[in-house]
Amino acid sequence: MTTAADGDATAAPPAALAGRGLTFGYPDTAPVFTGLDVRIAQGGVVGVLGPNGGGKTTLLRLLSGSLTPDAGEIYVGGERVRRGRRALNELRRRVQLVFQDPDDQLFSASVSQDVSFGPMNLGLAADAARERVAWALEALEITELAEQPTHLLSYGQRKRVVLAGALAMRPSVLVLDEPTAGLDPEGVESLVETLEGLRAAGTTLVVSTHDVDLAYRWADTVLLLNRGLLAAGEAREVLADPALLAAARLRPAWAPAAGRALRAAGLLAPGSPDPATPEEAARLLGGAEG
C-alpha cells in the first residue's frame, strides 16, 4: 500500500511526484487543503476521486505547477521544486496537465500547429519539433488528423489532440482531469487503451474521475479526496471500503458486489479477481446458465 507521502526517498525508489504539507485556498475562501501529503509512485495509474468541490482539480493543478501552494513543497522524481520561474517551468515541462474541456487547450488553427505549441516553447529546432509532433500524433493514433482544422473535430478527437499536445512535451507524469467525461463507453475504452500504451512506455498517469467503476478496474492506486486526503492506497482496497466511500460521498463500485455474488453462487473461484465489466460478469453467468 502506498502510504501518503512517506517522503523517505532513500528507502523506496523516489516518487514520480509528491506533495508534502500542501496548503492551498482560493482567495477569500476557506482553504481547500491544509497540510496535505500525497505521493505518486513511478509508472502506475493513480486515480483521484472525490465529490464535486472535493478538490480533485485543485490537487492536480497544484501537482502540475498550475497553482502555487500557499505552503508546502512539490517533489518531482525525488527533487524538491524550488521557488522561482525556472524551476516552475521545469516542473511544468515534466508534469503535463490536461484539462477536462479540450476547447480550453486548443487555440491554433490546425492540429499539427496546436501540438507543436509546447515543443516550440521548449526552444526546439524546427526539425526536432516536427519530429515530436509526428511522434505524439502517432502515439494518440491521430496522425491522419494532422492537417485538420481543430474546430471541425469531434469531441473525442479533440480530447486526443489535447493529449498529443501534452505528450509532445515528453513529460514524465501526465495529469488528466476527468479525461473520460462526456465520452461514450466505447470512446472511454479506446482512450484507456491508448493511455495504457503510454503507461507501458513509462509515463506515470494521474487521472481524476467520477467513475468509481473505471477507477476500480483501471487504477493501481487511488487518492480519495474531500477537501483533504481521506485515503490513499490500492484501488481495490480503498474502493471496496464502504465507510471511506461514504465519507467521499461516492457510491461503491459494482464490480466487488458482483464478484461477491458470483463467488456466493459458486461461479467464480474464491481467490480470483472481480469481473472488470458487466460483460465479463454476464459471461461468467452465461457459463452457468447456458
Binding site: D28, R85, N89, R92, L97, Q105, F107, F117, G118, N121
Partner: protein
C-alpha cells in the same frame, strides 16, 4: 472571480436601494470635487470610510487591494507636479509650489476614489443595471449592458482556463512565446464569443426569446426619507467646509 464584484454581493448594504447609495457616495464625491480640497477631501474620506468600515462592513483588505491601482496612478501622475520644465531655472527644476499642488490633487483624488470604490464595493451590478431604465436609458441598451455583464464572466472564465493551459505548455516562459500565446488567446476568445452568442441564442429561443430580454426586477422600496438621510452627510460636509472657510477667512 473579480474581487470587487464578489465583495459587493456579500455586502450587508446590498439590500439598500442603489439610488440611496448613489446619493450617499455621489453626494460625497461631489463635495470632494467641488469644494476646496482642504478640508473637504479629508472630511469626505473620513465620512465615507467610517460608513464603509462601520455599518457597511467593507473588508479593509478588499478595500486596500482595490484602491492600490488608482492610487498608484494618482501618485505617479502627481510626481510631474513636483518639477517644472523649460523655466528660467533650466531644463528641469524643482518647483517650490509643487508639493502643495501635488498634495492637493492627491487629497482630492484619494477622497474621490474612496467614494467610487465604496459605492462599487456595496452595489452589485446585477442590482444596479436593470434599474438604469428608470433614469431614461433605452431598454435595448440596458439589456445589452446587462448581457455584457453576464457574458463577461463566462468569457473571463474561458480566458483563465485557456491561459492556464498555455502556461502549462510553457506558453509564457519567454517574451516571444508570450506574444504568441496572448495572440492565440485573443483569437480563441473571439471565436468562442461568437460561438457562445449563437449557442445562447438557441438556448434562449427555447425559453421564448424573441428579441427582448425582459425580466422581473425585484422591487426595492425607495423611501424619500432614506434618500434624504443619504444626502445628509454630504450636506453636513459641505456645511462644515463652508463654515471652516468663513471662520478661516474671519480669523
Amino acid at each position: 472571480m473579480l474581487a470587487i464584484d464578489a465583495a459587493a454581493y456579500a455586502s450587508p448594504w446590498r439590500r439598500v436601494h442603489p439610488a440611496v447609495k448613489g446619493v450617499f457616495f455621489g453626494g460625497l464625491l461631489v463635495c470632494a470635487l467641488a469644494l476646496p480640497t482642504w478640508p473637504a477631501a479629508p472630511l469626505v474620506a473620513a465620512v465615507a470610510l467610517t460608513a464603509a468600515l462601520g455599518p457597511a462592513r467593507v473588508s479593509p483588505r478588499a478595500f486596500a487591494r482595490a484602491a492600490w491601482g488608482p492610487l498608484l496612478f494618482i501618485l505617479t501622475g502627481s510626481l510631474t507636479l513636483l518639477v517644472t520644465v523649460g523655466g528660467p531655472q533650466g531644463a528641469i527644476a524643482f518647483d517650490p509650489d509643487g508639493p502643495a499642488r501635488a498634495a492637493e490633487i492627491i487629497g482630492r483624488a484619494a477622497a474621490a476614489v474612496c467614494c467610487q470604490l465604496l459605492f462599487a464595493l456595496t452595489t452589485p451590478l446585477a442590482d444596479l443595471l436593470p434599474r438604469l431604465t428608470r433614469i431614461g436609458l433605452p431598454a435595448a441598451l440596458v439589456e445589452t449592458v446587462a448581457l455584457i455583464y453576464r457574458m463577461l464572466f463566462v468569457t473571463l472564465d474561458s480566458a483563465h482556463r485557456i491561459q492556464t493551459a498555455q502556461a502549462g505548455r510553457l506558453g509564457y516562459s519567454h517574451r516571444r512565446a508570450w506574444v504568441r500565446s496572448v495572440g492565440a488567446l485573443g483569437a480563441a476568445l473571439f471565436v468562442r464569443s461568437y460561438d457562445r452568442a449563437q449557442r445562447m441564442q438557441r438556448g434562449l429561443e427555447c425559453r421564448g426569446y424573441t428579441g427582448e430580454l425582459t425580466v422581473l426586477v425585484d422591487e426595492l422600496s425607495l423611501r424619500p426619507a432614506a434618500v434624504s438621510a443619504a444626502a445628509l452627510p454630504s450636506v453636513l460636509v459641505a456645511a462644515a467646509t463652508v463654515s471652516y472657510m468663513f471662520l478661516g477667512a474671519g480669523l
